[in-house]
Structure formats: C-alpha cells, structure tokens
C-alpha cells in the first residue's frame, strides 16, 4: 500500500505552506540536536562532538533560510546563503567522522581552522558555480560524493564497533539514506523536474534522516549509567 494520491494533491495545492512546515520542522530538529549535545561538548571538549554540532547548527540556519527561497532558478541572496550553509553542514558532518585521522593537535576553533578553511573555500567555489550555471547541481554532486565516502567510513565503523555499539548500524543506514536523498535530489532536479510526487518523497526521506539523527542524540544524551 503506497501513499494515497490525495496526499500529493493536498501538497500540490498548499506547496508553500508545506515547504514552510517542512523547513521549520527540520530546523527545529537541528536546534534540538545542537542543544542536546551542548552539555556533552562542554564537559568533554571533544572535537568530534564539536564538528557534529557545527553540522546541525549550519543545517538549522540553512533550513530557516530555505523558507525565503521561492525557486532555485531565480537569484536571491537567501538562495546563496542557504546553499553555503547547506554545503558547509555536509562538510562538517563528513569531517566529524574523519577528524581523528587528520588532526594531530587540538585546534582552538572548530569554525575557523586550517582544515575547515579548505571546506569554506570549496563551498564558496561550489556556490559560485551554481550561481553562474543556475540550479543546485554543484551542491548535489558534492554532497553525493561526500555522503558516499561518509557511508564507507560508517561501514568501517560498523564492522569494527557493531557488537558493542548498536547505533553504528543505524548511523550507517542514515549515511546511506543521505547518499540516496542527495542522489535522488540530483536526478529530480535534472530529469524529473516538476513531478511533485518525487519531490514529496524526497521531503519525507529527509525528514526520516533528521528524525533518526534526533533519535540517536536523544537516546545517547538521556541515559545515565554508572561505571
């Protein structure tokens, strides 16, 4: 049994409203994740938690800005800033899995250090290219590539930690879903433009992704165990 056709018709009739609600829900989820991980970061000063939090802080800003974008084909300042935060959020999430292999000493800032500076430059280049060519293709391709590698890293983590840490399996799933979501976004934008049914399914997929992140964060910031 699939999603009833009436559901898509309701969305079609209230496109702006649904996009507003969708963006607000995701921004709210991201905000909860940032708040819930704050205590853990303050106690530990752990760089991985720091980059993870940065990712969701940037996603939160991106989805709030998304409300002001009328169409990806029209130029607007909101579109440029949205894309900047969206790509950077992806980079932060990706780097939260990778920082241990690259950082030898603790950087003072997680928003401005030599490695992150490289991501800022890359992001600016991608945003400029998308501005020049129109649409979001450079963002889509970069995120497809990022989440492909992130999925591979998560698969390695899954193989090593699966027995002791059960959530690594779900984290691998969420990385694969991210890869799928960005791939379908790219396909939708280039080959299936205007098909609301596909767009609605991507929205649902994105909601599931952020809800899984929220589930994980809630689960691991709530429980109290003595050692």
């Amino acid at each position: 049994m699939g999603i009833p056709l009436e559901f898509y018709q309701i969305i079609a009739q209230n496109k702006i409203l649904f996009r507003f609600i969708y963006s607000m829900i995701i921004a709210f989820i991201c905000l909860i994740i940032v708040i819930k991980t704050d205590r853990l970061f303050r106690i530990s000063s752990h760089q991985g938690i720091r980059y993870f939090r940065n990712a969701f802080f940037f996603y939160c800003i991106a989805f709030l800005l998304r409300i002001f974008i009328i169409s990806p084909n029209y130029f607007s300042l909101a579109k440029i800033i949205f894309e900047f935060f969206m790509i950077m959020a992806g980079f932060f999430l990706f780097y939260s899995l990778l920082w241990k292999k690259l950082e030898t000493k603790k950087d003072l800032s997680s928003l401005l250090n030599s490695k992150i500076l490289l991501f800022y430059i890359l992001t600016l280049i991608l945003v400029i290219f998308d501005y020049l060519f129109g649409g979001y293709n450079f963002m889509f391709i970069s995120q497809v590539f990022l989440f492909f590698i992130a999925s591979m890293i998560s698969y390695q983590n899954y193989q090593i930690k699966n027995k002791k840490h059960k959530f690594v399996r779900l984290y691998l799933v969420v990385m694969l879903l991210n890869f799928l979501a960005w791939s379908t976004n790219f396909i939708f934008a280039n080959f299936l433009g205007g098909r609301l049914r596909f767009l609605a399914n991507i929205y649902i997929l994105n909601l599931i992704i952020f809800l899984i992140f929220l589930y994980g964060v809630t689960k691991f910031t709530r429980k109290k165990k003595k050692i």
Binding site: S44, I49, I153, Y171, F220, K226
Partner: protein, 90 residues
C-alpha cells in the same frame, strides 16, 4: 602497540582511580594513572582547578586525593560521552 589514550580517557582513569581507592596517595595515583610525573602534575592541577578532585593534607602532612561531587558527576557523564562518540563514530 598500545593505543595512545585520549585526554578525556586519561582524566577518566585518574578520577576513577580516586573513586575506587578512597584517600589515595599521590605516588600510588601516579602509578595508577600510567603517566610521566610531568604530565601527571599537569592533569592533577587541571582537575583540582576544575573542582573535580581535592588534595587533602592531614596533621602529619600526609597528602591524599579525594573525589568531589563534580568529579563523581563527570564519571557518570563520561560513560554517556563515550557511548555517544563511539555510536556516532565521532
């Protein structure tokens, strides 16, 4: 080769040693922490300044360490942090 302990793990080990050995002496804690004397001193000073542990000196000038409530809370939170970091692959 043994894996190098992270800063957070070292702090956890020191605090746990103090919790498990009531009124532990500095020399014994140094052995238990498996650190060089220089590093040990740095960590201890940090933990005292953060209010995680106390350095108690009795009438006979005998020095021992004890755990504060804040230190005990950290130990409980450590497990949560460790779980979070490992499960999210951070």
């Amino acid at each position: 080769m043994a894996k190098k302990r992270e800063r957070l793990e070292v702090i956890k080990d020191i605090i746990r040693s103090i919790r498990d050995n009531k009124n532990i002496k500095p020399t014994r804690l140094l052995y238990a922490s498996n650190l060089s004397p220089q590093m040990f001193k740095e960590y201890i000073n940090e933990l005292i300044s953060k209010g995680f542990i106390n350095l108690d000196i009795d009438d006979k000038e005998k020095k021992t360490f004890s755990l504060t409530k804040k230190g005990n809370d950290f130990l409980e939170e450590y497990r949560i942090i460790e779980d979070f970091v490992e499960n999210f692959g951070l």
